[in-house]
């Protein structure tokens, strides 16, 4: 099988292709207008239905609708409508959601955009976002979660956004950090913002300029910014103990294929995933696993056990790589 990671191989293949056909822009615009109208028409109007169904409740519902309308009018015009789109995967210690303390059994609870989340001493929460991205919030942190944006008021957060189309932006005061499909953390204290990039690249924007922080093999940059100026940049390994805090509350995830397990294990542990051959990669994609895997700081020790059960094995030439082959 050809290696499409090679630029020349890709060019040779694409030399046989023409640009994809597009519908006319006018027609697409008209079709979109019709589609969005159908979408709007499809949205339910529960208050109206309640009024029609039960006239006895009409006055109460009407008052409620008027009160809601009044509240919306008096609020900031940019305020988003709260919609449950993300869920808590696991948590530990003291965590509050909009001021209400969450019970340890809150896993699976939906969170609405616009919510404030606080973690106390020893508190930690792991949240599943849209597009398979994951957010971890460390102890003594306070954040406000929006769609594709997070306001970090204080504390530390970590994002793992594997290959998503939706970018996530973290705002920490005047500093904003925008991911480009990656794993990164942002810490905000009273006088500085620190950005660590474990994998991939993020763009860090201050008041007047934007800089890129990009992870290299075995070199994860940690950038400290004070008063909008990069004061210090150092590097740690993606496998350094620096990242251990992201596993404070273990989570159990469903296994799917050997490949998806390997990708998850590599991302969580900071290993680089490599297959011994294309045949191994293809087989890993079609070999199904069933059951759940506990994701915590002992995950790396269990990788080999799971691979062996599926007739694969880890054959590492160095401690930074998760190299997978068949059992020979």
């Amino acid at each position: 099988m050809k290696d499409f990671d090679d630029d020349n191989v890709m060019q040779e293949l694409f030399d046989q292709a023409e640009p994809r056909m597009q519908p006319s822009s006018e027609r697409m615009k008209a079709a979109k207008a019709d589609f969005m109208k159908a979408f709007e028409d499809q949205q339910p109007a529960p208050a109206k239905k309640s009024l029609l169904r039960n006239s006895g409740l009409a006055a109460a519902v009407l008052l409620s609708v008027l009160a809601s309308w009044f509240t919306l009018q008096s609020d900031d015009a940019g305020q988003e409508l709260a919609t449950a789109l993300v869920t808590i995967e696991s948590m530990a210690g003291e965590v509050t959601l909009n001021g209400d303390r969450l019970e340890p059994t809150a896993s699976g609870q939906a969170i609405e955009y616009g919510s404030d989340i606080d973690t106390g001493n020893g508190g930690f929460v792991r949240i599943q976002l849209a597009n398979n991205a994951s957010l971890r919030i460390d102890s003594n942190s306070r954040v406000t979660l929006h769609d594709q944006q997070l306001d970090l008021h204080t504390g530390r957060v970590y994002f793992d956004a594997p290959g998503t189309n939706d970018y996530i932006t973290v705002r920490a005061g005047d500093i904003s950090v925008r991911d480009i499909g990656t794993q990164f953390e942002v810490r905000r204290s009273s006088d500085s913002v620190t950005v660590g990039v474990r994998e991939g690249e993020v763009m860090v924007s201050g008041a007047d300029r934007t800089v890129s922080a990009k992870a290299e093999p075995e070199r994860a940059p940690i950038v400290e910014i004070r008063n909008g100026v990069v004061e210090e940049q150092r590097h740690v390994s993606p496998r350094d103990a620096h990242w251990n805090w992201i596993h404070k509350a273990p989570v159990e995830l469903e296994l799917e294929t050997v490949h998806s397990f390997a990708e998850l294990a590599a991302r969580e542990t900071g290993l680089s995933l490599v297959y011994a051959s294309d045949a191994v990669r293809q087989a890993s994609q079609s070999t199904r696993l069933s059951g759940k895997i506990r994701v915590d700081d002992t995950l790396e020790q269990r990788i080999q056990e799971i691979l062996l059960a599926a007739s694969f094995q880890r054959i590492d030439s160095n401690q930074h790589t998760l190299r997978i082959d068949f059992i020979r």
């Binding site: 290696d3 046989q16 292709a17 640009p19 398979n132 499909g181 763009m203």
Partner: protein, 201 residues
């Protein structure tokens, strides 16, 4: 059964009434459904109508999408129904179509237009590449098209996509890996169909 989480989440967001998600859904899939249609019926105007009907049908039925197949594959299934309905209408209103193809003169003209084996192979590869691109996230397919079909440099792509050159290089690497994965998957599927070991997708 693997679940397509990203597709499922987009569908769920539309079903929950998120306007942004509905726009993303339409912008991403309308052109893809249109292309799926136009290579089958070779009628651009009708394809635009059929793609629109497909998207409206999808909107009504999106709550039934369970993420077991890619969202695009699910839309293709709906589109096939719309194409069948359109062809049925055409048959009722255009009997001349069959008669004309039967004339000896026209048959010869059509044969003269037959492509060579090389041209046929190129045509099929062109279609396969388009199909693979349509299965990738929009950003990745757009980037690959800019780079390898339109011949844009990394700096030109960065400018067009309003991002940095290092970001483009990083995304290109991801896009190539994604392309390879889908290309292998679809090639294997097509080979299996050709050998008759699986049903037509």
């Amino acid at each position: 059964m693997a679940i397509r989480f990203e597709d499922k989440r987009l569908a769920d967001r539309v079903v929950r009434g998120e306007r942004n998600a509905a726009e993303v859904f339409f912008d991403t899939y309308y052109p893809r459904v249109y292309r799926f249609c136009v290579v089958r019926i070779r009628d651009e105007a009708a394809s635009e109508d059929i793609a629109q009907e497909t998207m409206l049908a999808a909107l009504k039925g999106l709550h039934t999408y369970r993420g077991e197949a890619a969202l695009f594959s699910w839309l293709c299934m709906l589109c096939r129904h719309e194409i069948s309905a359109w062809l049925e209408k055409q048959r009722k209103h255009n009997h001349q179509h069959i008669v004309l193809e039967d004339t000896e003169e026209l048959q010869r003209a059509l044969e003269s237009l037959n492509s060579t084996a090389d041209e046929q192979s190129r045509f099929e590869m062109n279609r396969l590449i388009h199909l693979v691109l349509d299965h990738l996230p929009e950003e990745h397919s757009k980037m690959l098209e800019l780079k390898y079909i339109q011949g844009c440099s990394v700096s030109e792509i960065a400018e067009q996509m309003n991002t940095g050159q290092t970001a483009v290089q990083s995304m290109l690497a991801r896009a190539r890996r994604g392309f390879q994965s889908v290309f292998q998957e679809l090639s294997a599927e097509i080979t299996a169909v050709a050998k008759g070991t699986v049903n037509t997708p």
